[in-house]
C-alpha cells in the first residue's frame, strides 16, 4: 500500500485521533466502559495501522526496537512501582488509599489511574512488538 496516496493521507489524518481515543479510553475507565487493556490495544492498533500502510521501515522510525523493548517493561514497572509506593507510604501492597495525596478518594483515584496507565503502556507496547516480530518473518 506504499503507493496509494488516498490511504496514506487518510491514515495520517486518522492516526492522532485514534491515539487520542486510546488515551481517552484509558483515562475514562473509572467512570465508564474502558480501562488500561482496551485503551492499550487501541493505541497499539494505531501504530499497527500506520505500519501496514507505510511499511515496516517507516514504522521503525516511528517507534524503534529499543524504545519498544523498554516500553514493554515500563508498564509493568509502573504497576509494580505504584504497589511499592503504597508499601513505602505505610500500607499493604497496592493499598492506594494510604497514598499521601490529600483525600482518600483522590489517592485511590490516582492509584487506579497509575496502574491503568501501566497496563495501557505494556499492552500497547506488546501489541506493537507482536506485530513487528511476526511481520518481519515475511521478509
Amino acid at each position: 500500500m506504499k503507493n496509494n496516496i488516498i490511504i496514506q493521507i487518510i491514515t495520517r489524518l486518522l492516526f492522532p485521533f485514534i491515539q487520542l481515543f486510546g488515551f481517552y479510553v484509558i483515562m475514562h475507565g473509572e467512570s465508564g466502559p474502558g480501562g488500561g487493556f482496551q485503551g492499550g490495544v487501541i493505541l497499539g492498533a494505531s501504530v499497527i495501522l500506520y505500519v501496514i500502510v507505510f511499511g515496516i521501515d517507516e514504522g521503525r522510525k516511528l517507534i524503534s526496537e529499543k524504545t519498544n523493548d523498554i516500553l514493554n517493561c515500563t508498564g509493568v514497572l509502573i504497576y509494580g512501582g505504584v504497589g511499592l509506593l503504597c508499601i513505602i507510604a505505610g500500607g499493604k501492597y497496592l493499598e492506594y488509599n494510604i497514598l499521601p495525596l490529600g483525600s482518600v478518594h483522590f489517592a485511590s483515584h490516582m492509584g487506579m489511574l497509575g496502574i491503568e496507565i501501566g497496563v495501557g503502556v505494556t499492552v500497547s507496547a506488546v501489541m506493537i512488538t507482536l506485530f513487528f516480530e511476526t511481520a518481519r518473518q515475511g521478509k
Binding site: 523493548d69 514493554n72 517493561c73 509493568v76 514497572l77 493499598e95 488509599n97
Partner: protein, 493 residues
Amino acid sequence: MSISQHFPVFVILLPLISAVLIPILSRAKKIYGWYISSAATFFSFMISVSLLRTVLDKGEISYWLGNWEPPWGIEYVVDYLSGFVLVVISFIIFVITLYSRNSVDKEIPEDKVVPFYSIYMLFVAGLLGMIVTGDIFNLYVFIEISSLAGYALIAVGRKRDALIASYNYLILGTIAATFILLGIGYLYMMTGTLNMADLRERLPALYNTTVIRTAFAFFSVGLSLKIALFPLHIWLPNAYTHAPSVIAALQAATATKVGVYAMIRIMFTVFKPHFILEVVPVARLFLVLSAVAIIAGSLLAFGQKDIRRVLAYSSIGQIGYIVMGIALANRLSIIGSLIHILNHALMKGGLFLVVGAVVYKTGITDIDGFKGLGKKMPFSMAAFTICALSMVGIPLTAGFVSKWYLALGALQAGKWIMVPVILISSLLTAIYFWRIIDNIYFEGHEVEGKIDDAPPGMLVPTFALAFCCILFGIVASIPVNITGLAAEMLVGG
C-alpha cells in the same frame, strides 16, 4: 511496621521485578541477566526461609493485598504446607540459577540470552506465586504465567523437535488451564466466593450437588494434565528431552512439584479429605492411577536410549509416588508425599544437572555414550551415582525416607497392596540406573579426546543437591517434623 510483614509478597515481587529489569539493564552486558537472576533467586530463598521460621514460631501468616479483607480481596497465605514447599522450590531454583551460567552460554544462542533470563524469572515468579496464594483465581493467573513462560523456554532447545514438543505442551497445558478455570467458575457459581479458606467453609453443604462434583472432576483432570499423571503424561518426555538442560532440570525439579502442591491445596484445603474419601470416592481412582504410573513409568524408562528420556519417564513414576500419598490421605502418607516432593526435586534436579554438565562437555546424551565417563568426569559422575542411589531408595539416602513413610501410610490405610508396588518399582529403578552406572564405571573408554570435569560453576550446585540427598537421608527429622505439622493441618491428627 517492619518490612518483614511484606515478605509474602516480596517473594514473588523479587523475581517478577527482576524479570522486568533484565531487558532494560542487561542491554549493556549480557551477563547482567545472570547476576540479576541469581541475586533475585537468592533473596527469594532467604525470604522463604525467614517466612518458614516465622510460621514455625507464630503460626499461619495471612497477607491482605491492597488491605481488603478476604474474601473480598486477594489473600496470601503462608502456613506449614506452603512454607515448606516455598523453601524447597526456592532453594532448588536458586541452585539451578547458579548452575545456569555456563550451560546457558553453551546452549542458548547469544542474542537470546537476555530474553531467556527474563522469561526464566517470570517462570520462577509464576511458580512461587502459585505456592503462596490463598485465592483460587489468583492461582489460575500464576499457573498461566508459569506455563506460558515454560512453553517458550522449552522451545529454545537446539533441535527443531523442541518446537513441536513445546507446541504439544502448549495445547495440553492450555486444555488443563482452561479446565481449571472452568472448575473455578463452577465453584464460584455455587458459593459466590474465590477465597480458599472461605470455600472450605461453604462447600460441605453443597457436596451433593452435581455442580460441585463436576467442578472437582475438572480440577482433577486439569491438574493431572499439569503434573503428567500417567495416562495424561504424553507431553512430558518430549518436553524434557528437547528442552535446554537448565530448563529440563528446572521443569523436572520444580514445575510438576508445584502442580502437585496445587493439587494438594485443592483436595485438602478447598475440599476436605472427607470429600475425596467418602462423598465421591475418587481417592481410590487416584490410587489405582498412581500405582499404574509408578510401574509404567519405571517400565517405560527401560526401553529408552536417551538419558534424558530415561529421567523423564522415571519422573512419571515418581509423580505416581507423590499422588499415591495424596490418594491414601492419612497423616503418614501425606508426610511421605511432601518429603517426596523435596527428595524428588533434589534427586531429579541433581541428575538433570549432571546430564547438563555432560552435554556441556561432550554433547552426548546417549546412554552408550556414557561409557568410561567415570574416569573422565569423576566428580560429576559421583554426584550422578549419589542421586541415582537416592532414586532407588537405598537406606541413608533421602529417597528411602519418603518411600518408608509412603509404605507406612499404605499399611495404615489398609492398602497393603501398595507396598509390593513400591518394592517392585524400586527394583526396576535399580535395574535401569544400574545399566547407566555400569556404563559409567565398568565399561571401556569409548569417549575419545581429552575431556576434563565440568567447571566449578556447574559442579558446586550439582554437589549441593547431591549432598542434600544424603543429608536428608541421615537427618530426616527436620523435614519429617515440618511436614508432620503440615499433614496434621491437612488431614487432622
